[in-house]
Amino acid sequence: MNIIVCVKQVLDPEIPPAKFKIDPATKKVIPPPGVPPVISVFDERAVEAACRLKDKQGGKITVISLGAAQAAEVVKHTIAMGTDEGFVLQDEAFEDLDSFGIAYVLGKAIEKIGAYDLVLCGRQSADWGNGQVGSILAEIMGIPVVTLACDIEAADKKLKVKRIVKDGYEVLEAPMPSLITASSELGLPRLPAGMRIMIAARTQVPVWKAADIGAQGPELDKAKAHTEVTGLSVPSRKTECEMISGDSPGQAAENLAAKLAKLL
Protein backbone atom coordinates (compact mmCIF):
# COMPACT_ATOMS: atom_id res chain seq x y z
CA MET A 1 0.00 0.00 0.00
CA ASN A 2 1.39 3.42 -0.97
CA ILE A 3 0.55 6.18 1.46
CA ILE A 4 1.36 9.86 1.14
CA VAL A 5 1.18 12.05 4.24
CA CYS A 6 1.11 15.85 4.14
CA VAL A 7 2.77 17.35 7.19
CA LYS A 8 3.25 20.97 8.09
CA GLN A 9 5.87 22.53 10.27
CA VAL A 10 4.37 25.08 12.66
CA LEU A 11 5.25 27.45 15.45
CA ASP A 12 4.98 25.41 18.66
CA PRO A 13 1.27 25.85 19.44
CA GLU A 14 1.83 25.20 23.13
CA ILE A 15 3.90 28.31 23.84
CA PRO A 16 2.39 30.34 26.67
CA PRO A 17 0.09 33.10 25.36
CA ALA A 18 2.40 35.70 26.91
CA LYS A 19 5.10 34.70 24.44
CA PHE A 20 2.82 35.02 21.46
CA LYS A 21 3.73 38.15 19.47
CA ILE A 22 2.64 39.45 16.11
CA ASP A 23 3.67 42.14 13.70
CA PRO A 24 0.36 43.70 12.66
CA ALA A 25 2.00 45.55 9.78
CA THR A 26 3.22 42.46 7.97
CA LYS A 27 0.35 40.40 9.43
CA LYS A 28 2.84 37.80 10.57
CA VAL A 29 3.61 36.06 13.82
CA ILE A 30 7.01 36.72 15.35
CA PRO A 31 8.36 33.37 16.52
CA PRO A 32 9.71 33.64 20.07
CA PRO A 33 13.49 33.15 20.11
CA GLY A 34 14.75 29.74 21.08
CA VAL A 35 11.47 27.92 20.50
CA PRO A 36 11.95 25.34 17.75
CA PRO A 37 9.06 24.78 15.33
CA VAL A 38 7.26 21.45 15.56
CA ILE A 39 5.20 19.10 13.44
CA SER A 40 1.56 20.16 13.42
CA VAL A 41 -0.22 17.94 15.98
CA PHE A 42 -2.84 16.38 13.75
CA ASP A 43 -0.30 15.73 11.02
CA GLU A 44 1.71 13.71 13.52
CA ARG A 45 -1.43 11.65 14.13
CA ALA A 46 -1.87 11.26 10.37
CA VAL A 47 1.68 9.87 10.29
CA GLU A 48 0.75 7.55 13.15
CA ALA A 49 -2.27 6.33 11.16
CA ALA A 50 -0.02 5.67 8.18
CA CYS A 51 2.48 3.78 10.33
CA ARG A 52 -0.28 1.62 11.81
CA LEU A 53 -1.49 0.68 8.33
CA LYS A 54 2.06 -0.10 7.29
CA ASP A 55 2.60 -2.20 10.44
CA LYS A 56 -0.40 -4.30 9.42
CA GLN A 57 -0.02 -4.69 5.69
CA GLY A 58 3.32 -3.30 4.73
CA GLY A 59 3.78 -0.67 2.07
CA LYS A 60 5.54 2.58 1.65
CA ILE A 61 4.93 5.92 3.32
CA THR A 62 6.05 9.12 1.61
CA VAL A 63 5.86 12.43 3.42
CA ILE A 64 5.67 15.91 1.91
CA SER A 65 5.97 19.21 3.65
CA LEU A 66 5.56 22.61 2.08
CA GLY A 67 7.44 25.33 3.87
CA ALA A 68 10.86 26.61 4.71
CA ALA A 69 13.99 24.50 4.24
CA GLN A 70 13.89 23.72 7.98
CA ALA A 71 10.75 21.70 7.33
CA ALA A 72 13.25 18.91 6.67
CA GLU A 73 13.27 18.51 10.46
CA VAL A 74 9.62 17.47 10.61
CA VAL A 75 10.12 15.12 7.69
CA LYS A 76 13.00 13.52 9.58
CA HIS A 77 10.82 13.27 12.66
CA THR A 78 8.30 11.26 10.65
CA ILE A 79 11.07 9.04 9.31
CA ALA A 80 12.07 8.36 12.90
CA MET A 81 8.45 7.38 13.53
CA GLY A 82 8.45 4.93 10.63
CA THR A 83 7.89 6.63 7.30
CA ASP A 84 10.12 5.76 4.33
CA GLU A 85 10.97 8.96 2.57
CA GLY A 86 10.04 12.57 2.38
CA PHE A 87 10.33 15.77 0.41
CA VAL A 88 10.32 19.42 1.30
CA LEU A 89 8.58 21.74 -1.13
CA GLN A 90 10.28 25.08 -0.88
CA ASP A 91 10.39 28.00 -3.24
CA GLU A 92 10.16 31.77 -3.03
CA ALA A 93 7.05 31.49 -5.16
CA PHE A 94 5.45 29.39 -2.40
CA GLU A 95 5.58 32.08 0.26
CA ASP A 96 2.31 33.27 1.78
CA LEU A 97 0.17 30.70 0.06
CA ASP A 98 -3.44 30.34 1.17
CA SER A 99 -5.27 27.02 1.51
CA PHE A 100 -5.94 26.74 -2.22
CA GLY A 101 -2.36 27.57 -3.05
CA ILE A 102 -1.04 25.01 -0.59
CA ALA A 103 -3.42 22.34 -1.89
CA TYR A 104 -2.39 23.10 -5.45
CA VAL A 105 1.32 22.75 -4.71
CA LEU A 106 0.83 19.59 -2.64
CA GLY A 107 -1.22 18.17 -5.51
CA LYS A 108 1.60 18.85 -7.94
CA ALA A 109 4.09 17.12 -5.67
CA ILE A 110 1.77 14.14 -5.32
CA GLU A 111 1.49 13.93 -9.11
CA LYS A 112 5.25 13.73 -9.25
CA ILE A 113 5.43 11.03 -6.58
CA GLY A 114 3.05 8.98 -8.68
CA ALA A 115 1.05 5.96 -7.59
CA TYR A 116 -0.73 6.10 -4.26
CA ASP A 117 -3.61 4.35 -2.52
CA LEU A 118 -4.17 6.83 0.27
CA VAL A 119 -3.33 10.44 1.02
CA LEU A 120 -3.42 11.49 4.66
CA CYS A 121 -3.66 15.01 6.08
CA GLY A 122 -4.31 16.44 9.50
CA ARG A 123 -7.81 17.72 10.25
CA GLN A 124 -6.42 21.24 10.50
CA SER A 125 -3.09 22.91 10.90
CA ALA A 126 -2.06 23.98 14.39
CA ASP A 127 -1.17 27.51 13.28
CA TRP A 128 -3.71 28.99 10.85
CA GLY A 129 -6.07 26.12 11.51
CA ASN A 130 -8.05 26.47 8.33
CA GLY A 131 -9.17 22.87 8.13
CA GLN A 132 -9.41 23.14 4.36
CA VAL A 133 -6.29 21.93 2.64
CA GLY A 134 -7.15 18.21 2.76
CA SER A 135 -10.61 18.65 1.26
CA ILE A 136 -9.47 21.08 -1.42
CA LEU A 137 -6.59 18.76 -2.31
CA ALA A 138 -9.00 15.84 -2.68
CA GLU A 139 -11.28 17.93 -4.90
CA ILE A 140 -8.34 19.05 -7.03
CA MET A 141 -7.17 15.45 -7.42
CA GLY A 142 -10.70 14.24 -7.99
CA ILE A 143 -10.59 11.60 -5.27
CA PRO A 144 -13.05 10.94 -2.43
CA VAL A 145 -12.37 12.47 0.96
CA VAL A 146 -13.25 11.44 4.50
CA THR A 147 -12.60 13.99 7.23
CA LEU A 148 -11.98 13.54 10.96
CA ALA A 149 -10.87 9.93 11.01
CA CYS A 150 -10.15 8.24 14.34
CA ASP A 151 -9.51 4.77 12.92
CA ILE A 152 -8.57 3.49 9.47
CA GLU A 153 -8.49 -0.08 8.21
CA ALA A 154 -7.55 -1.20 4.73
CA ALA A 155 -8.72 -4.42 3.08
CA ASP A 156 -9.67 -5.55 -0.43
CA LYS A 157 -8.80 -2.23 -2.01
CA LYS A 158 -11.20 -0.50 0.34
CA LEU A 159 -10.75 1.76 3.31
CA LYS A 160 -12.93 1.41 6.35
CA VAL A 161 -12.90 4.67 8.25
CA LYS A 162 -14.29 5.53 11.63
CA ARG A 163 -15.17 9.22 11.60
CA ILE A 164 -15.79 11.45 14.61
CA VAL A 165 -19.05 13.36 14.83
CA LYS A 166 -20.39 15.49 17.66
CA ASP A 167 -22.29 12.80 19.48
CA GLY A 168 -20.54 9.63 18.42
CA TYR A 169 -19.03 8.31 15.23
CA GLU A 170 -19.75 7.04 11.75
CA VAL A 171 -18.27 4.11 9.92
CA LEU A 172 -17.63 4.80 6.26
CA GLU A 173 -16.30 2.78 3.39
CA ALA A 174 -14.15 4.57 0.85
CA PRO A 175 -12.46 3.28 -2.30
CA MET A 176 -8.75 3.54 -2.94
CA PRO A 177 -7.32 5.98 -3.59
CA SER A 178 -8.96 8.41 -1.20
CA LEU A 179 -7.85 11.24 1.01
CA ILE A 180 -8.45 11.01 4.75
CA THR A 181 -7.91 13.67 7.40
CA ALA A 182 -6.83 12.57 10.88
CA SER A 183 -8.31 13.79 14.13
CA SER A 184 -6.69 13.58 17.55
CA GLU A 185 -9.09 10.80 18.59
CA LEU A 186 -6.88 8.53 16.50
CA GLY A 187 -4.70 8.24 19.56
CA LEU A 188 -1.24 9.30 20.59
CA PRO A 189 1.53 9.14 18.03
CA ARG A 190 4.39 6.72 18.65
CA LEU A 191 7.65 7.98 20.04
CA PRO A 192 10.60 7.55 17.72
CA ALA A 193 13.00 4.95 19.07
CA GLY A 194 16.23 3.06 18.47
CA MET A 195 17.46 2.42 14.96
CA ARG A 196 14.84 4.64 13.40
CA ILE A 197 16.26 7.71 15.10
CA MET A 198 19.63 6.94 13.57
CA ILE A 199 18.17 6.31 10.14
CA ALA A 200 16.33 9.61 10.34
CA ALA A 201 19.43 11.49 11.45
CA ARG A 202 21.35 10.21 8.42
CA THR A 203 18.55 11.01 5.95
CA GLN A 204 19.01 13.83 3.49
CA VAL A 205 15.63 15.30 2.68
CA PRO A 206 15.44 16.42 -0.95
CA VAL A 207 14.00 19.85 -1.62
CA TRP A 208 11.66 20.25 -4.55
CA LYS A 209 11.39 23.68 -6.12
CA ALA A 210 8.45 25.04 -8.07
CA ALA A 211 10.02 23.97 -11.35
CA ASP A 212 10.69 20.43 -10.08
CA ILE A 213 7.00 19.77 -9.65
CA GLY A 214 5.64 22.10 -12.31
CA ALA A 215 3.84 24.28 -9.81
CA GLN A 216 4.38 27.67 -11.36
CA GLY A 217 3.29 30.32 -13.79
CA PRO A 218 -0.29 31.52 -14.20
CA GLU A 219 -1.59 28.28 -12.67
CA LEU A 220 0.22 28.98 -9.43
CA ASP A 221 -0.79 32.63 -9.51
CA LYS A 222 -4.41 31.62 -9.88
CA ALA A 223 -4.17 29.07 -7.07
CA LYS A 224 -2.70 31.74 -4.82
CA ALA A 225 -5.42 34.30 -5.33
CA HIS A 226 -8.36 32.82 -3.44
CA THR A 227 -8.07 34.57 -0.10
CA GLU A 228 -5.98 37.30 1.41
CA VAL A 229 -5.29 38.04 5.05
CA THR A 230 -6.08 41.73 5.51
CA GLY A 231 -5.50 42.06 9.22
CA LEU A 232 -4.01 40.27 12.21
CA SER A 233 -4.51 41.33 15.81
CA VAL A 234 -4.24 39.94 19.29
CA PRO A 235 -7.57 40.13 21.11
CA SER A 236 -7.29 41.59 24.57
CA ARG A 237 -8.42 39.34 27.33
CA LYS A 238 -8.03 40.62 30.80
CA THR A 239 -9.92 39.09 33.66
CA GLU A 240 -9.35 40.01 37.26
CA CYS A 241 -9.02 36.72 39.07
CA GLU A 242 -10.08 36.83 42.69
CA MET A 243 -7.93 34.37 44.59
CA ILE A 244 -9.87 32.59 47.29
CA SER A 245 -7.89 31.59 50.33
CA GLY A 246 -8.49 29.99 53.69
CA ASP A 247 -6.61 28.40 56.56
CA SER A 248 -6.49 25.22 54.51
CA PRO A 249 -7.37 24.25 50.94
CA GLY A 250 -10.56 22.74 52.35
CA GLN A 251 -11.43 26.04 54.01
CA ALA A 252 -10.73 27.90 50.77
CA ALA A 253 -13.04 25.48 49.00
CA GLU A 254 -15.84 26.22 51.46
CA ASN A 255 -15.35 29.95 51.00
CA LEU A 256 -15.47 29.48 47.26
CA ALA A 257 -18.67 27.43 47.43
CA ALA A 258 -20.31 30.09 49.59
CA LYS A 259 -19.35 32.80 47.12
CA LEU A 260 -20.49 30.87 44.05
CA ALA A 261 -23.76 29.75 45.59
CA LYS A 262 -24.73 33.41 45.83
CA LEU A 263 -23.93 34.06 42.17
CA LEU A 264 -25.74 31.05 40.74
Binding site: P13, F20, F100, A126, D127, W128, G129, G131, Q132, S135, I136, L137, P144, V145, T147, L148, C150, D167, G168, Y169, E170, V171, L172, E173, A174, P175, S178, S183, S184, E185, T227, E228, V229, T230, L232, S233, V234, P235, R237, K238, T239, C241, E242, M243, I244, S245, P249, G250, Q251, A252, A253, E254, L256, A257, A258, K259, L260, A261, L263, L264
Partner: protein, 331 residues
Protein backbone atom coordinates in the same frame (compact mmCIF):
# COMPACT_ATOMS: atom_id res chain seq x y z
CA UNK B 1 -18.31 39.37 -11.83
CA UNK B 2 -21.73 37.88 -12.40
CA UNK B 3 -22.09 36.39 -8.96
CA UNK B 4 -24.93 37.88 -6.98
CA UNK B 5 -26.74 37.38 -3.73
CA UNK B 6 -26.15 35.58 -0.47
CA UNK B 7 -26.84 31.87 -0.07
CA UNK B 8 -27.17 30.13 3.28
CA UNK B 9 -26.61 26.37 3.30
CA UNK B 10 -29.14 25.34 5.90
CA UNK B 11 -29.19 22.43 8.28
CA UNK B 12 -32.16 20.49 9.51
CA UNK B 13 -32.10 18.91 12.95
CA UNK B 14 -34.94 16.65 14.02
CA UNK B 15 -37.22 18.05 11.37
CA UNK B 16 -36.59 21.71 12.27
CA UNK B 17 -34.26 24.43 11.06
CA UNK B 18 -31.07 24.14 13.10
CA UNK B 19 -30.35 27.10 15.42
CA UNK B 20 -27.19 27.88 13.43
CA UNK B 21 -29.28 28.16 10.27
CA UNK B 22 -31.51 30.75 11.91
CA UNK B 23 -28.39 32.62 13.04
CA UNK B 24 -27.00 32.48 9.50
CA UNK B 25 -30.27 33.77 8.05
CA UNK B 26 -29.94 36.75 10.38
CA UNK B 27 -26.40 37.57 9.26
CA UNK B 28 -27.20 36.73 5.67
CA UNK B 29 -30.19 39.10 5.69
CA UNK B 30 -28.02 41.95 6.90
CA UNK B 31 -25.36 41.32 4.27
CA UNK B 32 -27.94 40.96 1.50
CA UNK B 33 -29.63 44.22 2.51
CA UNK B 34 -26.32 46.07 2.49
CA UNK B 35 -25.57 44.65 -0.93
CA UNK B 36 -29.09 45.31 -2.15
CA UNK B 37 -29.29 41.70 -3.26
CA UNK B 38 -31.34 38.60 -2.44
CA UNK B 39 -30.89 36.19 0.42
CA UNK B 40 -31.53 32.60 -0.49
CA UNK B 41 -31.30 29.38 1.45
CA UNK B 42 -30.67 25.81 0.42
CA UNK B 43 -32.42 23.12 2.42
CA UNK B 44 -31.55 19.50 1.74
CA UNK B 45 -33.32 16.35 2.88
CA UNK B 46 -36.57 14.46 2.60
CA UNK B 47 -38.46 16.74 4.95
CA UNK B 48 -36.96 20.00 3.71
CA UNK B 49 -40.11 21.03 1.85
CA UNK B 50 -42.05 21.70 5.01
CA UNK B 51 -39.44 24.20 6.16
CA UNK B 52 -39.39 26.52 3.18
CA UNK B 53 -41.90 28.98 4.62
CA UNK B 54 -40.08 28.97 7.92
CA UNK B 55 -36.80 29.94 6.27
CA UNK B 56 -38.67 32.77 4.56
CA UNK B 57 -40.10 33.89 7.90
CA UNK B 58 -36.53 34.07 9.19
CA UNK B 59 -35.42 36.27 6.31
CA UNK B 60 -34.89 34.31 3.09
CA UNK B 61 -36.23 35.69 -0.20
CA UNK B 62 -35.83 32.38 -1.96
CA UNK B 63 -35.57 28.87 -0.57
CA UNK B 64 -34.23 26.05 -2.69
CA UNK B 65 -35.55 22.69 -1.60
CA UNK B 66 -33.61 19.56 -2.52
CA UNK B 67 -35.78 16.69 -1.38
CA UNK B 68 -33.75 13.74 -2.60
CA UNK B 69 -33.90 10.89 -0.09
CA UNK B 70 -30.14 10.48 -0.50
CA UNK B 71 -29.92 13.75 1.43
CA UNK B 72 -31.95 12.63 4.44
CA UNK B 73 -28.90 12.44 6.63
CA UNK B 74 -25.54 14.01 6.02
CA UNK B 75 -23.61 12.38 3.22
CA UNK B 76 -20.51 14.29 2.22
CA UNK B 77 -20.55 13.29 -1.46
CA UNK B 78 -24.28 13.88 -1.87
CA UNK B 79 -24.36 17.24 -0.09
CA UNK B 80 -21.28 18.49 -1.92
CA UNK B 81 -22.73 17.48 -5.26
CA UNK B 82 -26.12 19.06 -4.58
CA UNK B 83 -24.76 22.30 -3.14
CA UNK B 84 -22.11 22.64 -5.86
CA UNK B 85 -24.68 22.11 -8.61
CA UNK B 86 -26.91 24.79 -7.15
CA UNK B 87 -24.05 27.26 -6.70
CA UNK B 88 -22.87 26.67 -10.25
CA UNK B 89 -26.35 27.39 -11.50
CA UNK B 90 -27.33 30.30 -9.28
CA UNK B 91 -23.88 31.85 -8.91
CA UNK B 92 -24.21 33.37 -5.43
CA UNK B 93 -21.63 35.94 -4.47
CA UNK B 94 -21.53 34.86 -0.83
CA UNK B 95 -22.15 31.36 0.57
CA UNK B 96 -22.54 30.91 4.32
CA UNK B 97 -22.48 27.69 6.31
CA UNK B 98 -22.44 26.78 9.99
CA UNK B 99 -19.21 25.75 11.66
CA UNK B 100 -20.82 22.46 12.61
CA UNK B 101 -20.16 18.81 11.84
CA UNK B 102 -21.83 19.34 8.48
CA UNK B 103 -20.39 22.75 7.63
CA UNK B 104 -16.83 21.79 8.59
CA UNK B 105 -16.94 18.90 6.16
CA UNK B 106 -19.02 20.45 3.42
CA UNK B 107 -17.59 23.99 3.19
CA UNK B 108 -14.00 23.15 2.23
CA UNK B 109 -15.12 20.53 -0.30
CA UNK B 110 -17.61 22.90 -1.83
CA UNK B 111 -14.95 25.57 -1.95
CA UNK B 112 -12.53 23.13 -3.55
CA UNK B 113 -15.08 22.36 -6.22
CA UNK B 114 -16.22 25.93 -6.85
CA UNK B 115 -12.83 27.59 -6.60
CA UNK B 116 -13.99 30.30 -4.22
CA UNK B 117 -12.40 31.79 -1.13
CA UNK B 118 -13.33 30.35 2.26
CA UNK B 119 -12.80 31.43 5.86
CA UNK B 120 -13.61 28.84 8.52
CA UNK B 121 -14.90 29.25 12.06
CA UNK B 122 -15.73 32.93 11.74
CA UNK B 123 -16.73 35.06 14.70
CA UNK B 124 -17.81 38.03 12.62
CA UNK B 125 -18.91 38.66 9.04
CA UNK B 126 -19.23 42.10 7.49
CA UNK B 127 -18.71 44.00 4.26
CA UNK B 128 -15.85 46.38 3.52
CA UNK B 129 -16.10 49.62 1.56
CA UNK B 130 -15.81 47.69 -1.69
CA UNK B 131 -18.73 45.53 -0.50
CA UNK B 132 -16.53 42.49 -0.19
CA UNK B 133 -17.07 39.96 2.57
CA UNK B 134 -14.70 40.45 5.49
CA UNK B 135 -14.42 37.35 7.67
CA UNK B 136 -12.90 37.49 11.12
CA UNK B 137 -11.61 34.21 12.50
CA UNK B 138 -9.40 33.03 15.34
CA UNK B 139 -5.99 31.78 14.29
CA UNK B 140 -3.05 30.33 16.19
CA UNK B 141 -5.41 28.52 18.50
CA UNK B 142 -7.15 31.77 19.38
CA UNK B 143 -3.99 33.72 20.21
CA UNK B 144 -4.83 36.05 17.34
CA UNK B 145 -7.72 37.08 15.14
CA UNK B 146 -7.31 37.44 11.40
CA UNK B 147 -9.53 39.16 8.90
CA UNK B 148 -9.73 37.65 5.45
CA UNK B 149 -11.05 38.86 2.14
CA UNK B 150 -11.53 37.16 -1.19
CA UNK B 151 -10.70 39.77 -3.77
CA UNK B 152 -11.41 37.91 -6.98
CA UNK B 153 -12.38 34.31 -6.27
CA UNK B 154 -16.13 33.61 -6.12
CA UNK B 155 -18.12 32.67 -4.23
CA UNK B 156 -16.88 34.26 -1.05
CA UNK B 157 -17.50 31.60 1.56
CA UNK B 158 -17.48 31.41 5.34
CA UNK B 159 -18.49 29.09 8.13
CA UNK B 160 -19.86 30.86 11.18
CA UNK B 161 -19.25 29.56 14.70
CA UNK B 162 -22.58 28.70 16.37
CA UNK B 163 -23.95 31.12 18.94
CA UNK B 164 -21.77 34.07 17.93
CA UNK B 165 -24.68 36.10 16.56
CA UNK B 166 -28.29 36.37 17.74
CA UNK B 167 -30.85 34.28 15.85
CA UNK B 168 -32.91 36.01 13.15
CA UNK B 169 -36.31 37.29 14.24
CA UNK B 170 -39.24 35.34 12.92
CA UNK B 171 -41.78 37.22 10.87
CA UNK B 172 -44.48 35.00 9.43
CA UNK B 173 -45.82 37.79 7.26
CA UNK B 174 -42.67 37.81 5.14
CA UNK B 175 -43.10 36.71 1.55
CA UNK B 176 -40.72 34.67 -0.52
CA UNK B 177 -40.40 31.97 -3.07
CA UNK B 178 -39.95 28.25 -2.47
CA UNK B 179 -38.17 26.63 -5.38
CA UNK B 180 -37.80 22.87 -5.73
CA UNK B 181 -34.34 21.94 -7.00
CA UNK B 182 -34.64 19.95 -10.17
CA UNK B 183 -32.44 17.06 -11.02
CA UNK B 184 -31.72 14.00 -8.93
CA UNK B 185 -28.46 12.87 -7.51
CA UNK B 186 -26.72 10.09 -9.31
CA UNK B 187 -26.14 7.35 -6.71
CA UNK B 188 -23.07 6.27 -8.68
CA UNK B 189 -21.48 9.63 -7.88
CA UNK B 190 -21.52 8.79 -4.20
CA UNK B 191 -18.14 7.20 -3.75
CA UNK B 192 -18.03 6.91 0.02
CA UNK B 193 -20.61 4.63 1.64
CA UNK B 194 -21.99 5.25 5.10
CA UNK B 195 -21.94 1.84 6.78
CA UNK B 196 -23.26 2.82 10.18
CA UNK B 197 -23.78 5.68 12.58
CA UNK B 198 -23.21 5.14 16.27
CA UNK B 199 -24.50 7.55 18.89
CA UNK B 200 -22.52 7.53 22.09
CA UNK B 201 -25.03 8.47 24.72
CA UNK B 202 -23.63 10.30 27.68
CA UNK B 203 -25.51 9.85 30.91
CA UNK B 204 -26.91 12.86 32.68
CA UNK B 205 -26.96 16.45 31.49
CA UNK B 206 -25.68 17.11 27.97
CA UNK B 207 -22.45 19.07 27.98
CA UNK B 208 -23.73 21.69 25.53
CA UNK B 209 -26.85 22.35 27.57
CA UNK B 210 -25.29 22.24 31.04
CA UNK B 211 -25.44 25.33 33.27
CA UNK B 212 -22.43 24.09 35.17
CA UNK B 213 -19.42 22.32 33.66
CA UNK B 214 -16.70 20.74 35.77
CA UNK B 215 -13.72 20.22 33.54
CA UNK B 216 -10.57 18.23 34.24
CA UNK B 217 -7.15 18.11 32.67
CA UNK B 218 -3.89 16.24 32.78
CA UNK B 219 -3.42 17.29 36.40
CA UNK B 220 -6.26 14.97 37.49
CA UNK B 221 -3.90 12.06 36.98
CA UNK B 222 -6.23 9.09 36.55
CA UNK B 223 -9.61 7.87 35.38
CA UNK B 224 -10.43 7.07 38.99
CA UNK B 225 -9.80 10.62 40.14
CA UNK B 226 -12.13 11.89 37.43
CA UNK B 227 -14.90 10.45 39.60
CA UNK B 228 -14.35 13.37 41.96
CA UNK B 229 -15.29 15.73 39.15
CA UNK B 230 -18.40 13.69 38.37
CA UNK B 231 -19.51 13.94 41.97
CA UNK B 232 -19.13 17.69 42.01
CA UNK B 233 -20.91 17.99 38.68
CA UNK B 234 -23.80 15.87 39.85
CA UNK B 235 -24.27 17.90 43.03
CA UNK B 236 -24.44 21.03 40.85
CA UNK B 237 -26.68 19.39 38.26
CA UNK B 238 -23.95 19.94 35.70
CA UNK B 239 -21.83 17.98 33.27
CA UNK B 240 -18.21 16.90 33.14
CA UNK B 241 -15.83 18.15 30.46
CA UNK B 242 -12.17 17.45 29.76
CA UNK B 243 -9.05 18.68 28.03
CA UNK B 244 -7.53 16.84 25.14
CA UNK B 245 -4.78 15.16 27.17
CA UNK B 246 -7.40 13.86 29.62
CA UNK B 247 -9.32 12.40 26.66
CA UNK B 248 -6.13 11.07 25.07
CA UNK B 249 -5.41 9.23 28.31
CA UNK B 250 -8.89 7.74 28.26
CA UNK B 251 -9.90 9.32 31.57
CA UNK B 252 -12.91 10.87 29.90
CA UNK B 253 -14.72 9.96 26.67
CA UNK B 254 -13.59 11.84 23.56
CA UNK B 255 -17.03 13.40 23.21
CA UNK B 256 -16.37 15.45 26.36
CA UNK B 257 -13.36 17.31 24.98
CA UNK B 258 -13.76 21.06 25.21
CA UNK B 259 -11.84 23.51 23.07
CA UNK B 260 -10.87 24.52 19.59
CA UNK B 261 -11.21 20.99 18.27
CA UNK B 262 -13.79 19.85 20.78
CA UNK B 263 -17.01 21.33 22.03
CA UNK B 264 -17.68 24.98 22.71
CA UNK B 265 -19.66 25.51 25.91
CA UNK B 266 -20.96 28.63 27.59
CA UNK B 267 -22.39 27.61 30.95
CA UNK B 268 -23.04 29.90 33.89
CA UNK B 269 -20.21 28.29 35.78
CA UNK B 270 -17.11 26.59 34.40
CA UNK B 271 -14.92 24.92 37.00
CA UNK B 272 -11.50 24.16 35.53
CA UNK B 273 -9.60 21.62 37.59
CA UNK B 274 -6.00 20.53 37.02
CA UNK B 275 -5.83 22.06 33.58
CA UNK B 276 -3.35 24.71 32.53
CA UNK B 277 -5.67 26.86 30.41
CA UNK B 278 -4.00 26.35 27.04
CA UNK B 279 -5.35 28.78 24.48
CA UNK B 280 -6.81 25.92 22.42
CA UNK B 281 -8.74 24.73 25.45
CA UNK B 282 -10.09 28.00 26.78
CA UNK B 283 -11.38 28.91 23.35
CA UNK B 284 -14.08 26.38 24.16
CA UNK B 285 -15.18 27.92 27.47
CA UNK B 286 -14.54 31.68 27.29
CA UNK B 287 -18.24 32.29 26.84
CA UNK B 288 -18.90 31.03 30.37
CA UNK B 289 -20.31 33.57 32.80
CA UNK B 290 -17.97 32.59 35.62
CA UNK B 291 -14.76 30.63 35.27
CA UNK B 292 -13.24 29.08 38.37
CA UNK B 293 -9.73 27.67 38.35
CA UNK B 294 -8.28 25.12 40.74
CA UNK B 295 -4.63 24.53 40.03
CA UNK B 296 -1.54 24.00 42.15
CA UNK B 297 0.58 26.23 39.92
CA UNK B 298 -0.19 29.87 40.50
CA UNK B 299 1.44 30.79 37.19
CA UNK B 300 -0.95 28.62 35.17
CA UNK B 301 -2.58 30.55 32.33
CA UNK B 302 -6.05 29.53 33.46
CA UNK B 303 -5.80 32.15 36.22
CA UNK B 304 -5.54 34.82 33.51
CA UNK B 305 -9.04 34.05 32.30
CA UNK B 306 -10.65 32.86 35.54
CA UNK B 307 -12.85 35.00 37.78
CA UNK B 308 -12.13 33.00 40.91
CA UNK B 309 -9.17 30.81 41.71
CA UNK B 310 -7.72 28.53 44.33
CA UNK B 311 -4.05 27.65 44.20
CA UNK B 312 -3.87 24.18 45.71
CA UNK B 313 -3.83 20.48 45.02
CA UNK B 314 -7.30 19.76 43.68
CA UNK B 315 -7.50 16.61 45.80
CA UNK B 316 -7.60 18.78 48.88
CA UNK B 317 -10.14 21.15 47.40
CA UNK B 318 -12.77 19.12 45.59
CA UNK B 319 -14.11 17.01 48.47
CA UNK B 320 -14.72 20.10 50.61
CA UNK B 321 -16.15 22.01 47.66
CA UNK B 322 -18.57 19.19 46.83
CA UNK B 323 -19.61 18.79 50.47
CA UNK B 324 -20.17 22.52 50.95
CA UNK B 325 -22.24 22.84 47.78
CA UNK B 326 -24.32 19.86 48.89
CA UNK B 327 -24.98 21.57 52.18
CA UNK B 328 -25.74 24.97 50.64
CA UNK B 329 -27.95 23.66 47.88
CA UNK B 330 -30.03 21.42 50.13
CA UNK B 331 -30.68 24.32 52.50
Amino acid sequence: MDNKGVLVCGEIVEGKLAPITIELLGVGRKLADELGEDLSALLMGGKAGGLGQEAIAYGADKVYIAEDSLLDSYNSDAYTQMAADLCQKELPSIVLLGHTDIGCDLAPRLNGRLGGGLAMDCLELSLDSAKMLVSTRPVFGGNAHATMVSKTARPQMATLRPKTVPPAKRDDSRKGEVIPVEGKLDPAALKVKVVERIKEEVEGVKLEDAEVVVSGGRGIGSAQSFEMLRELASVLGGAVGATRPACDEGWAPMTLQIGQTGKVVSPKLYIAVGLSGAIQHIGGCLGSKYIVAINNDKEANIFNVAHFGIVADYKEVLPALTAKFKELLSA
